[in-house]
């Protein structure tokens, strides 16, 4: 009889824990959503009362109608598909090259001495200003867009992974050498995990840079992609389409950033104190 009661108390405890967890996440969501709702409600009212220009700031209800329309007729998905392809393609290509080069430069002084002046010279150049040159070299097709996004993703990844290796306390290299680790073992057991926190913030910066460059190159060139959708809306003065595209980009950016944050916390359990949030 006694153990039955204990068991039911334990169940009660677990249930209240679940209830509390649900309540906490509801509160978190509400803290994010309420200000946004408030913002849109005020916008809706002000716009309906025609206190602000309906052309520049169409009422949220009209933007929603447009969103619904472009979702249903499939145009939004088509734009989104092209943007995501360029963004993720460039992110993976540029990010991977940046990661490999950055880790190597952080670890090998001779390579760092060789490549650092080049990086220092190219890094401050706004990446979008390279688009004409890239167009001349790679043509008007898809390739030059992906090359541009790769360049955008490359630099933050390179800088962060290099810094990540360089800020590893030298004592860890000493310990590894003292216990007879080979070069390959030092790379896997010290260089890689030691720089992981910095690499992960590089991944986020790279991703945001990839989103940025994707939109820029699509605005300049092409009929498809969220950037093109924005530019087309401006040319035809269909502002509700413009807002619909902006909202879509914002949602995509938010989702990607949250996913990366979640992955980072899973991968770097020892870095609780200095979490990867930026």
């Amino acid at each position: 009889m006694e153990h039955v009661r204990e068991r039911s108390q334990e169940l009660d405890g677990r249930k209240s824990l679940v209830v509390r967890n649900i309540r906490n996440s509801l509160i978190t969501i509400a803290r994010y959503v309420l200000p946004l709702v408030l913002f849109f409600v005020i916008w809706q009212v002000v716009s309906s009362l025609e206190l602000i220009s309906k052309l520049f700031f169409p009422a949220p209800s009209r933007i929603l109608e447009t969103l619904q329309k472009v979702i249903q007729d499939g145009t939004l998905v088509e734009h989104l598909r092209y943007s995501m392809m360029r963004m993720l393609g460039g992110f993976f290509i540029g990010g991977a090259i940046g990661l490999l080069l950055g880790l190597s430069m952080g670890w090998l002084p001779w390579l760092r001495n060789l490549a650092d002046p080049l990086v220092a010279a190219f890094h401050p150049v706004p990446k979008s200003s390279l688009f004409p040159l890239v167009l001349i070299i790679f043509g008007l097709g898809e390739t030059s867009k992906i090359v541009m996004v790769s360049i955008g993703a490359f630099f933050p990844m390179l800088i962060n992974s290099m810094a990540g290796v360089r800020q590893i306390d030298p004592i860890y290299f000493d310990v590894a050498a003292n216990y007879g680790a080979s070069r390959g073992q030092i790379f896997r057991r010290v260089v890689l995990p030691g720089s992981l926190p910095s690499i992960l913030s590089g991944v986020r910066l790279s991703m945001n840079s990839a989103i940025h460059i994707t939109i820029v190159v699509e605005m300049i060139l092409g009929k498809l992609g969220l950037g093109a959708m924005i530019w087309l809306s401006w040319e035809t003065l269909r502002t509700t389409y413009l807002y619909a595209a902006l909202i879509t980009i914002s949602v995509i950016g938010l989702l990607l950033n949250r996913t990366l944050e979640f992955v980072a916390r899973r991968l770097v359990p020892w870095n609780d104190a200095q979490s990867v949030r930026s």
Partner: protein, 259 residues
């Protein structure tokens, strides 16, 4: 399994020119002996250990660590000042690091590591990461890692320097207990004179930079030793006074130099 050091010197190149850290140092440590090195900060104690550990090359001179023939044990293992536990590995992986580097199988590593962790009272924490442990526990894990490697020579660079007085006493006791059961040659760098007296068979006293050996003193205390209530406290007091007399002027001049 002793150590033989002959005319070892180290000169570092720095932006301000060359700095001689270590000047022509010679000494010998016999097998299973516990020898401490004391000296003012900057006297090249750590440099000496790093040379013996094979982490840096000496500028002049040579050293030899006799290795028992026909075994695969490492020649030396170093216990570092800041523990040097990898923050990204739990205790099991940290302590088993040396075995893993030598290609041992995971099951074998696990059973050996759990054995040594229980000797240090850490078996419950094998899945914890270093940041989840106290300073004393981390230092204990660093000792466990070095003992598990089963080297001919243990090189310890102020291993207890960062600990509070109580954890320090606890770890000194544990070190002696485990050393008593598993005799190794130990070279122990410290700037705590009393610690050196209580732990070692011999103390090497070094001068300020560039480090030379001023004196080499035998510590004739009985073993096993009681660190809390040592019987021979008169002798200990005498030795402490003697060593401090030799060190005082060196410490003063190294303090002035660092101003």
């Amino acid at each position: 399994m002793g150590i033989q050091v002959t005319n070892l010197a180290k000169i570092f190149d720095s932006n301000q020119g060359q700095v001689q850290a270590l000047a022509e140092v010679s000494f010998a440590v016999t097998s299973q002996e516990f020898v401490s090195i004391v000296g003012p900060s900057g006297c090249g104690k750590s440099t000496l250990l790093r040379i013996l550990a094979g982490l840096i090359e000496p500028s002049r001179g040579k050293f030899a660590i006799d290795v028992e023939s026909g075994n695969h044990r490492p020649q030396n293992a170093m216990v570092f000042q800041g523990q040097g536990l990898f923050p990204w590995m739990n205790l099991l992986d940290n302590v088993g690091f040396g075995m893993k580097m030598r290609g041992a199988r995971p099951a074998e590593i696990k059973s050996e590591v759990m054995g040594i962790l229980s000797q240090f009272g850490l078996e419950k924490f094998h899945a914890h990461f270093p940041h989840e442990l106290s300073g004393g526990m981390r230092q204990r894990a660093a000792l466990a890692r070095a003992f598990l490697a089963d080297p001919d020579v243990l090189l310890m660079d102020e291993p207890f320097g960062a600990l509070d007085a109580q954890s320090r006493l606890l770890l000194q006791q544990e070190l002696l207990r485990i050393w008593q059961a598993n005799r190794k040659t130990i070279l122990f760098v410290t700037h705590d004179i009393e610690e050196a007296i209580l732990l070692s068979d011999r103390i090497i006293i070094m001068s300020g930079r560039p480090g030379r050996i001023i004196e080499d003193i035998n510590i004739p205390l009985k073993r096993p030793r009681n660190l809390v209530e040592p019987e021979e406290h008169e002798l200990i007091g005498e030795l402490k006074g003697k060593i401090w007399n030799m060190l005082e002027s060196e410490v003063k001049s190294s303090m002035e130099e660092s101003l």
